[in-house]
């Protein structure tokens, strides 16, 4: 009986609690606009959440068709992409050096094949004789020299890279203009080159820039690299230096082909001189 009474008392309390709690909550929600709004909102959130879940599920079931249609669309878009067409017309920009009457003409080309891990590395560019590219032209990129053109077809050209045992270019120290020639280093490291035959009177400094001299295919002042080791090997009548290339040859994408207008003339003149000697 006592237990029953306690039970009734408890039940009683709970019942009273429900009555008063509900009435106060009704008052609360009715007279407080924020809670009113957010109460309705949260019920919307519940339905909204359920709807979202259903949509997600539906989406999963139709993934395959969506995938197919996306792949088709991708292919269609790829067909419209500029890179799938061979560009027929070429925009050339010219550098007119009015003081020395020297004219260099640049042609932008994209690298479509490249290698850096062999002893004789070549790269292929997507411009050829039709675009005015000729054998013997120099090739540079935005950060430095790249190589020279050795083979030309109608639409493509083959470039002998700086990373080639046969490549030699005339360069100079940026500060005191002492000339030398650059070639690839002996250990096939794509970042290291050798600067040879610099006059013994030159006083090169570690970290000094090495640029093109203007005596060969390139305009003067195109960066080649920085001196990274002053004494790679001794016992020579001239100074040798190791340099770090300014260009990362493994990441070439766009290059500029340099057309030195007086290259033929210079060659002919120098050949004439040799003959005279």
């Amino acid at each position: 009986m006592r237990n029953l009474l306690i039970f009734i008392t408890k039940y009683n309390a709970f019942f009273l609690f429900l009555i008063f709690e509900i009435s106060s909550l009704v008052i609360y929600i009715k007279y407080n606009s924020f809670q009113k709004a957010s109460f309705i909102n949260s019920s919307n959130q519940v339905t909204g959440y359920l709807y979202t879940q259903k949509t997600d599920l539906d989406g999963y079931l139709s993934l395959k068709e969506v995938n197919d249609s996306l792949a088709r669309e991708n292919a269609a878009l790829r067909n419209q992409l500029k890179s799938s067409f061979y560009i027929d017309t070429v925009a050339k920009h010219k550098l007119n050096d009015t003081v020395y009457k020297v004219e260099y003409e640049y042609t932008v080309a994209r690298v479509i094949n490249n290698s850096t891990n062999r002893s004789f590395n070549y790269l292929t560019i997507n411009k050829g004789s039709k675009d005015g590219i000729g054998v013997g032209m120099g090739v540079i990129c935005s950060s430095g020299i790249v190589g020279k053109v050795v083979n030309v077809t109608e639409h493509l050209a083959n470039v002998q890279s700086m990373l080639n045992k046969d490549t030699r270019f005339s360069v100079m120290l940026a500060k005191n203009k002492e000339i030398g020639s650059i070639r690839w280093g002996d250990d096939l490291d794509p970042h290291k080159g050798l600067l040879m035959d610099v006059n013994n009177n030159a006083q090169p400094q570690y970290g000094e820039m090495v640029v093109t001299s203007g005596y060969s295919l390139f305009p003067a002042g195109i960066p080649v690299g920085k001196i990274s080791n002053l004494h790679p090997k001794g016992g020579s009548i001239s100074l040798n230096m190791e340099i770090t290339f300014a260009v990362d040859y493994s990441k070439l994408q766009y290059v500029d082909v340099v057309d030195y207008k007086y290259a033929k003339e210079q060659e002919g003149l120098e050949a004439q001189q040799k003959k005279d000697d």
Binding site: K10, A13, L16, F17, S23, S24, I27, Y28, S38
Partner: protein, 172 residues
């Protein structure tokens, strides 16, 4: 009986005044806000009928709400508090053996019991109050830290007031 009514009426008025005119303006670091007025429900005599207890809690809550401009908020929290009080007392106190309509005060029940009692009830009340006020689960961490820090403050004030009136009654 009449004495109990007078004492509780006075306590009601005094606590509401303290809450509304003093403690309403106190907030520590935007985190800790004391709600001492619930002491009134805590200190109602053991023998209070449940119906009266819930009604008083409801009225007290509505009174505070009238001053706080939040109709229903404190009322809901206080009604919950009354339920927790009923459960807590039914679990921890044997009702027989009391005379003189004893009240669950610090001096009557001893520090340990009163402290637990105050802490549990305050935590329930504050938890419900703050969450109902915020009415969203975002920032639950902030709400919970408010609950805990405010509870500490409130219980501290309860113990202080209990000690203030300690000497009036002899401890059983």
């Amino acid at each position: 009986m009449i004495r109990a009514i007078i004492i509780n009426t006075l306590r009601f008025i005094v606590l509401v005044f303290i809450q509304v005119f003093l403690l309403k303006n106190i907030t520590l670091y935007n985190l800790s806000t004391p709600y001492l007025y619930i002491l009134f429900i805590l200190l109602l005599p053991f023998e209070t009928p449940n119906a009266l207890l819930f009604l008083l809690a409801f009225v007290l809550g509505l009174t505070i709400d009238a001053f706080y401009d939040t109709p229903g908020l404190h009322a809901a929290a206080c009604v919950l508090l009354a339920l927790v009080r009923v459960l807590f007392i039914s679990i921890t106190v044997q009702k027989e053996g009391f005379d003189n309509e004893p009240e669950p005060t610090l001096s009557n029940m001893g520090f340990r019991w009163f402290f637990t009692y105050a802490l549990v009830l305050t935590l329930f009340h504050h938890f419900f109050l703050f969450n109902l006020e915020v009415f969203s689960l975002s920032g639950i961490q902030y709400t919970l830290s408010r609950v805990i820090l405010s509870s500490i403050f409130t219980v501290f004030l309860m113990l202080v007031s209990g000690l203030l009136f300690y000497s009036r009654k002899e401890r059983k």
